[in-house]
Amino acid sequence: MQHAASPDSPDRINDFVIKLANVNGTGSASANTLLMKSMFRMGIPVMGKNYFPSNIQGLPTWYEIRISREGYVARSDRIDFMVAMNAETYAKDVKDVRPGGYLLYDSTWPRPALLRRDDITIFGVPLARICNETFQGVRSRILLKNIVYAGVLGALLDIEIDVMRTLLGESYANKKSLLDSNVKALELGYNYAKEHFQCPLPLRVARMDKTANHIMIDGNTAAALGCMYAGATVGAWYPITPSTSLMDGFKSFCQKWRIDPETGKRNYVIVQCEDELAAIGTVIGAAWNGARSFTPTSGPGISLMNEFIGLAYYAEVPAVIFDIQRVGPSTGMPTRTQQCDLMIAAYASHGDTRHVLLFPNSPEECFYMAVQAFDLAERLQTPVFVMSDLDIGMNDWMCPDLKWDDAYVPDRGKVLTKEQLEQIDKFYRYFDKDGDAIPYRTLPGTHPKGAYFTRGSGHTQYGGYTEDSTEYQIVLDRLKRKFETAKTLVPTAVLDSRGSTSLGLVSLGSCDGAVREALDLLRRRGVQIDYMRVRAFPFGPEVEDFLTSHSQIFVVEQNRDAQLRSLLTLETAVEKARLHSILHYSGLPISSSVIVDGVLASAPEQRLAVGGRS
């Protein structure tokens, strides 16, 4: 019997990282989800991150499961247990395991002794042989190999096998034969490990009660759900990674909840367009005509949409755009994450334009901000961007249960009804009647008095065409004031004051988990930093206050050019020199160590209670 424990590894319960190296297209996703979800069902906080190639079949893919009893949601740089299923990446995968860690591989074929390491524990399980001896058919042998390793891990890590069986039962509720073969594979792996290795390892899980009233969901699904709940009726899109699953999600929710029970007809319209230009055009046309409409896209799509975004800004048409950011520039790395579209979204299109952006930090906020985005777009009559990213959009995050308030009434903004139009003498489309810089609009088909001509060319406050400088400027200046009104309506920044008057940290979106973990780590070292997570652009007064009240401010974001820092320096009174960037743009989600190292490296030592690097 092989002994598992390394001499220097104490028990690590509910605090470790498993990385699973697979080949794309071999069906590993279901086994990896099974592993993660069974631990989640055991009440243990988990986080799954998928590092996949821009490919359908054959290239390397990794899945990382972080088990964190503290509930940290960020990626960890450490790998405690590697499941090395891909011969092509085996050499690198072996190297990546931390000293004292573990590795599991398919021992059907011997691995070169060269690739061995003495400071980790290596488990060889003849996964392919087990499957070949038990199951028929090439495809099912390949697929079930994954379930066999899930069983092996179940035994090694002390995952409750009944929970795993239940999950398989749910997945294959209507497919008895598949259920049987999957359960068989699971048990083969589980029993093999029990028989050949000392189970469980010191590195293992134990039941907790930290996942009650929580769900595991990805941001695109949550955003899609938000679109349905907000009452969106027109979705237009062009498929692009990593946004595609948002419209897929919307479609499947609508197929369940938006079918007229009497006629079987659809209470929604989805248009798969010829490109992103048409997708945003369709959104603008639908919103102009009174439907809540949206498009999910990513950076290249935003680039293409620029002209239309400027039209919607100037002609004051609502539009909701989900930008699931991926690595740029150009095609970049389509399956990797970044926050690199902040500048292009904030000022999209030629001429003087500025747009409302929302920055969700999780799938939970994707849901709520999707709803807010429609309210804001219609209230402000302007495009609103929900700036998600691949990490939030495509990975499963543990979130508190999403809640819905049945008293919610959508804010459709200032739209004149037929009755209102009959009452008034004359309708002026771009006139600031209420002093909040938001004019009234009308919908086609309502009343001849409400008819007006929408145009991207120069127009007066009454809606007429103009090339007159004064008339043009009246409208342009009002649009600027409207952006001031937006500041009072967008979600405010989240402040986490830890009592520091000198050190502050500003971040946004998917950095949040890593920042919170880093701040805890720094506090343990005696470094107290106040934290502000901005949730929207334009920045409200609380952002200005935070920047004013701290003498040194770290700005943490996931792009090369410090785009959040640029926006802060452009749009607030903060001195540029007080903002210190901590940047991460590798394409992998940011981890806490990047932030801890960044703070310790750039903060003047006298300000830190405890200096030195980790």
């Binding site: 009726t233 005509n289 009174g290 409409s293 001509f453 991207g456």
Partner: protein, 351 residues
């Protein structure tokens, strides 16, 4: 362009339609195009068609891109909403607008640059979706606002004002529409109101995408000798193959035509178009034949006009999409959200 605004007061003796409205009630703002522009004649034809149809002005949605042609949506039916969008992208605005409210009339006005160059992709896909709209190409073979460059519809050998000869083959919107699956394909001439008005009415009644390519000479940049889009050249070379007369649902077909040369086609709302075939062998329901006939005539320098092809059976966009009968922009919010109860059941999958 004219600088004197038309008086708002209409003569009491002007004829009224079923809604009690005169033609003046279907006018829009003053045209800012050149005097004699073919586009203004098309505007007049649209006004006449809407009046004849007794359309409520607010029921008309006017969409356009950029260019001389696209400006014209401001010059007719002032009681309907207009949207002058971005260059070549009107079809996507139309897609969204039609998706939101299927119960209005949609008319898109475009030009040869807007449709055949910058907007060719969107034009093709609007047709592929069979959007329920009338799409008019005001085709003059030239870029007017930028002062006289050839457009993609300019014929080989056609001469620009300063003598330059066009050497690239043209894209013919009608041939393109026939190959792309257009369900109502027509060509007309801005100078032939008798032909154009009923085509516009029929196009608006057609359930699906109706294309009318209207040869519309540019008096400033493309009306000289050597141009194949001048008034003179078009008049000499156009050849009507099928004349369409629109017959409202309640009215009898009274006109007398030679037996065998007429063909009534029933539209979705019960109205009919009476097709008068000027070439008895021609069948406007046969896509392949229409294509070949056009190609043959084009090679002889003849522009075939009239209702070239019609298919009233293909499902339009909303039928294909399975959309509910109420326009989706009018669905009550309660029908759109499953509420907190529904959310509980949805979340089960994520536990």
């Amino acid at each position: 362009m004219s600088f004197i605004a038309k008086p708002k007061i209409a003569h009491p003796g002007l004829p009224k339609n079923e809604l009690g409205l005169t033609r003046r009630d279907y006018e829009g703002g003053m045209s800012t195009l050149c005097a004699g522009c073919g586009h203004d004649s098309i505007t007049a034809a649209i006004i006449e068609a809407c009046w004849q149809m007794s359309m409520r002005p607010e029921q008309l949605v006017k969409l356009s891109g950029i260019g001389c042609s696209s400006k014209t949506t401001a010059y007719f039916v002032g009681g309907g909403h207009g949207f002058n969008s971005v260059h070549g992208r009107m079809p996507s605005i139309a897609t969204g607008a039609i998706a939101a409210n299927k119960d209005l009339y949609y008319i898109g006005v475009s030009g040869d640059g807007d449709t055949l160059s910058i907007g060719f992709g969107q034009f093709a896909h609007a047709m592929r979706r069979n959007l329920n709209m009338l799409y008019i190409v005001e085709n003059n073979g030239v870029y007017g606002l930028t002062k006289g460059q050839f457009s993609a519809s300019a014929d080989i050998g056609s001469k620009a004002k300063k003598g330059e000869e066009n050497l690239q083959p043209p894209i013919d919107p009608v041939l393109a529409a026939l190959t792309l699956g257009g369900t109502f394909v027509a060509r007309s001439f801005s100078g032939d109101k008798e032909q154009l008005v009923p085509l516009i009415v029929a196009g608006m009644k057609h359930r699906g995408f109706a294309l009318i390519d209207v040869l519309s000479p540019c008096v400033t940049f493309n009306d000289h000798e050597g141009s194949t889009k001048s008034y003179e050249f078009v008049r000499d070379h156009y050849d009507e193959v099928v004349h369409a007369d629109f017959v409202p649902p309640a009215r009898e077909i009274t006109a007398q035509y030679a037996q065998g040369d007429t063909m009534p086609i029933t539209m979705h709302d019960g109205s009919r178009i009476l097709l008068r075939k000027l070439d008895p062998s021609y069948d406007p329901r046969h896509r392949g034949q229409a294509f070949n006939y056009l190609r043959d005539k084009l090679s002889q320098n003849e522009f075939v006009t009239g209702l070239i092809y019609i298919d009233e059976k293909s499902p339009e966009f909303h039928e294909v999409s399975g959309t509910t009968s109420t326009p989706v922009n009018q669905l009550p919010f309660a029908k759109l959200t499953p509420g907190s109860k529904g959310l509980e059941s949805i979340l089960k999958r994520y536990r």
